[in-house]
């Protein structure tokens, strides 16, 4: 039953842009943010809240822009390299950051990401400052495409990646390494007594989450065609956490449900009202208070993880 629901959801996503072409951009962006929110959700399972993951999102998008400037012009290669760059950054930052818990973890992530943000915004000669950098249209498997075609290809590649990466993350979360995350949340000391190195569990999770945010950032960079420092501002990080929590951290689909819900709602809302943040803020508070498992909790039969 759940497979059917999931399959038809993906199918609907696949045909939506045919019906309404302007939705394609919105949906691509939603999937991109879904990846990043999934990264945040992985850490939230361990009870760690990062208000700095937009840094990896932005780092990867900047990575694409720099690599493209250096002459690399293949979508696959750019995606892989930029995600690796985000993962590497995640490994370096993670080495320091996974030592901390609770508010200190949140704070340090924020600090690192704001240094990154400020550097991107101020190093005008390197990063183009607040104007950002162009992300050009790359070749796909050696084929040079026009802009509209590329955007369609990008959308369907993102959709496919959503399925593939989603399944991979599902397996990771169901592996002992993934279950250890919840154990960190509930009782870290017990885990240490069992001989499981908590820092290694968390470092793996941190790198995975950084790579996911990086994948999202690269896709967003391609979709928008430009990367700006605002990608890494703290409110962007806050929005990633918000998406993860709205969707629910109990399962992989949660992040994507949250992202799709928000982006579609946004498309509707901007034409009717200016009070978009008011709606989102209120939704967030209501969901946390009355629906701690997020929207995913509505679909999930078994008890899913909550905050």
């Amino acid at each position: 039953m759940r497979t059917i629901v999931a399959a038809s959801a993906v199918l609907i996503l696949a045909v939506l842009p045919v019906a309404a072409p302007w939705l394609q951009f919105v949906l691509t962006l939603a999937i991109a943010k879904g990846f990043a929110a999934l990264g945040v959700a992985v850490l939230l399972r361990a009870g760690l809240i990062s208000i700095g993951h937009a840094m990896f999102f932005a780092a990867s998008a900047y990575g694409v822009a720099f690599l493209a400037r250096a002459g690399i012009n293949d979508l696959g290669l750019l995606l892989i390299l930029s995600v690796l760059a985000a993962a590497l950054l995640g490994a370096i930052a993670g080495l320091f950051l996974v030592r901390y818990r609770a508010i200190f973890f949140a704070m340090l992530n924020l600090a690192v990401s704001m240094v990154f943000y400020a550097l991107c915004a101020k190093l005008y000669s390197v990063t183009g400052g607040t104007d950002g950098m162009t992300v050009p249209v790359p070749a796909v498997f050696g084929v040079v495409l026009g802009e509209p075609t590329f955007k369609s290809v990008l959308f369907y590649i993102s959709l496919a990646l959503m399925l593939l990466v989603g399944l991979a993350i599902q397996r990771y979360l169901n592996s002992p390494l993934g279950h250890a995350l919840a154990a960190v949340h509930s009782n870290e000391i017990r885990l240490e007594y069992l001989g499981i190195p908590v820092w290694a569990v968390l470092l793996v999770a941190y790198v995975v989450s950084a790579a996911l945010a990086g994948l999202g950032g690269a896709i967003a960079g391609f979709a928008i065609g430009r990367v700006v420092p605002d990608f890494a501002f703290w409110t962007a990080s806050g929005h990633l956490v918000l998406i993860a929590v709205l969707g629910g951290i109990g399962g992989v689909p949660g992040a994507f449900i949250g992202a799709l819900f928000l982006e579609l709602l946004h498309s509707v809302a901007v034409t009717v009202t200016d009070a978009w943040n008011l709606i989102v803020g209120l939704t967030l508070i209501v969901v946390i208070m009355f629906l701690p498992q997020g929207f995913y909790g509505l679909f999930s039969r078994k008890e899913a993880s909550s905050l």
Binding site: A20, P21, W22, G129, D131, G132, T134, G225, V272
Partner: protein
């Protein structure tokens, strides 16, 4: 079968949603029908709706996407642009619209950042009714939208895109600028400054931290160095766009005691800077050049003798503007409706709409009175010469614009409560522009004092 059923339901829902979204913009019912049918049709044949290629019947209304800042610190500069667009569009529609087609504008707030602006541009461009985009105010957004305009083949007129990077490659087909660019705009200040203050030795620069600020500093510095090689730049500050507080920067500027302080801050940033710097004596200790100073004349009290200009010829009180009854009428109507006289962003916007209107006229003359396609419209803009409220906007083969540059200093006048621009000069647009395709900075380096002598002098424009 089920799949087809679902898709049709989805399409219907989306169409009606599309319908809802458009209701508040007050489009006639027939168009809504058109949108619905169009979308369902597009689904049925599985084709992505794109711009119709052939010339078509006159539509019942012409949509314009207008991009400007309507919120945040930059709105102090962006709103006068929007106000002017509102006024101009009402005037155009009162006279029956553009070639008989009423105009309606959709405003996009640039304060939402590049991501949102790009999304909005795509959404508007996806609707064939929106034939022209008037975008944008911030050079960052201009640079972000320009490739999109080429890809989606939508004529896009940069009403305030002054960065010389915009059309540098000379390959633009759909992006136009009926304005000068940063090169003539800031060379003009260097020349004017040296004419008025020939013994200037030290200069400090405080510009906003993005392309416009950095480009202007580069061009202004290069021009000064070319015309007077012993000028020294003693401080260069680039506060973040939208900074509310400049106290430390002002201390820094005062401690280096420069002969000249140059700034192209704008919007509320400029108002904040002037308000904080005036009591702290910056205007008394240095000759200040405020490149966008005209925009704040009516809002903050500027002392006499500050070098200001309008980045082009858009000074509503200039002799040429005063001689044009249309301009005088526009200034009066603007004051009556918005409580302030127009500032140069208003004039730039009004001139841009005149430019678009002229392009429609030219395109329809060329194709025998049929309503032009987007491509035909772009074609009509290329190489055009349009009489504006304040002068002429000439479009070169590389789509870059040539307009005159007016620079002057603030002076008191009994006619107004606020200072106006006096001791003006009007440099010819082409005299300060490098040839198409020429590297601007290399061209600036070839300038010499003889070149400056050949130009009109301060006070010559009366």
């Amino acid at each position: 079968m089920t799949f087809k059923g679902i898709s049709i339901v989805v399409a219907r829902c989306l169409s009606s949603f599309d319908l809802l979204c458009r209701l508040d913009r007050g489009l006639p019912q027939s168009n809504l029908r058109l949108v619905v049918d169009g979308l369902v049709g597009a689904l049925a044949i599985g084709v992505v709706a794109t711009t119709p290629a052939a010339a078509q019947e006159k539509p019942s209304s012409l949509g314009l996407g207008i991009f400007t800042f309507t919120s945040g610190p930059a709105a102090a500069y962006g709103m006068p642009g929007k106000n002017a667009a509102d006024l101009m569009i009402d005037e155009i529609n009162a006279k029956g619209g553009i070639e008989g087609v009423p105009v309606s504008a959709t405003y996009v707030d640039e304060a939402q950042g590049a991501q949102g602006v790009i999304a909005e541009y795509r959404r508007l461009a996806g609707d064939a009714k929106n034939q022209v985009m008037i975008a944008a105010l911030s050079s960052a957004n201009c640079l972000a939208l320009a490739p999109l305009a080429e890809q989606l083949e939508v004529p896009t007129v940069g009403w305030n895109c002054d960065t010389h990077q915009l059309l540098m490659d000379g390959k633009s087909k759909y992006v136009f600028r009926p304005n000068g660019n940063t090169v003539p705009e800031f060379i003009a200040y260097a020349i004017y400054l040296l004419e008025r203050k020939p013994d200037v030795k030290t200069v400090a620069i405080i510009n906003p931290d993005y392309a416009f600020g950095h480009d202007a500093a580069k061009i202004f510095t290069a021009a000064l160095k070319a015309l007077k090689p012993d000028v020294e730049i003693v401080a260069e500050l680039y506060p973040k766009l939208g900074s509310p507080n400049y106290q430390t920067e002002i201390s820094r500027l005062t401690t280096v005691r420069p002969d000249v302080v140059f700034s192209n801050l704008w919007g509320a940033d400029l108002e904040n800077f002037v308000r904080q710097a005036t009591p702290r004596g910056l205007f008394a200790s240095s000759q200040v050049v405020l490149a966008l100073g005209e925009t704040v004349l009516q809002r903050v009290p500027l002392p006499d003798g500050v070098i200001v200009g309008v980045l082009g010829d858009g000074w509503w009180m200039s002799p040429d503007a005063g001689a044009n009854p249309e301009t005088v009428k526009f200034g009066g109507a603007y004051k009556a409706r918005f409580g302030e006289y127009p500032v140069f962003p208003s004039i730039k916007m009004a001139n841009t709409l005149i430019y678009v209107k002229a392009a429609y006229k030219a395109a329809m003359q060329k194709n025998g009175g049929k309503w032009p396609t987007r491509a035909e419209l772009a074609d009509a803009m290329k190489g055009s010469t349009v009489a504006t409220l304040t002068g002429t906007a000439q479009t070169r083969a590389d789509n870059d614009g040539l307009v005159d540059q007016i620079v002057g200093v603030t002076v008191k006048t009994p006619a107004q409560q606020f200072p106006v621009i006096g001791d003006m000069v009007r440099y010819k647009g082409d005299s300060l522009m490098p040839q198409a395709g020429q590297d601007p900075l290399a061209w600036i380096a070839t300038l010499n004092p003889e070149f400056a002598k050949s130009l009109p002098k301060p006070g010559s424009y009366k």
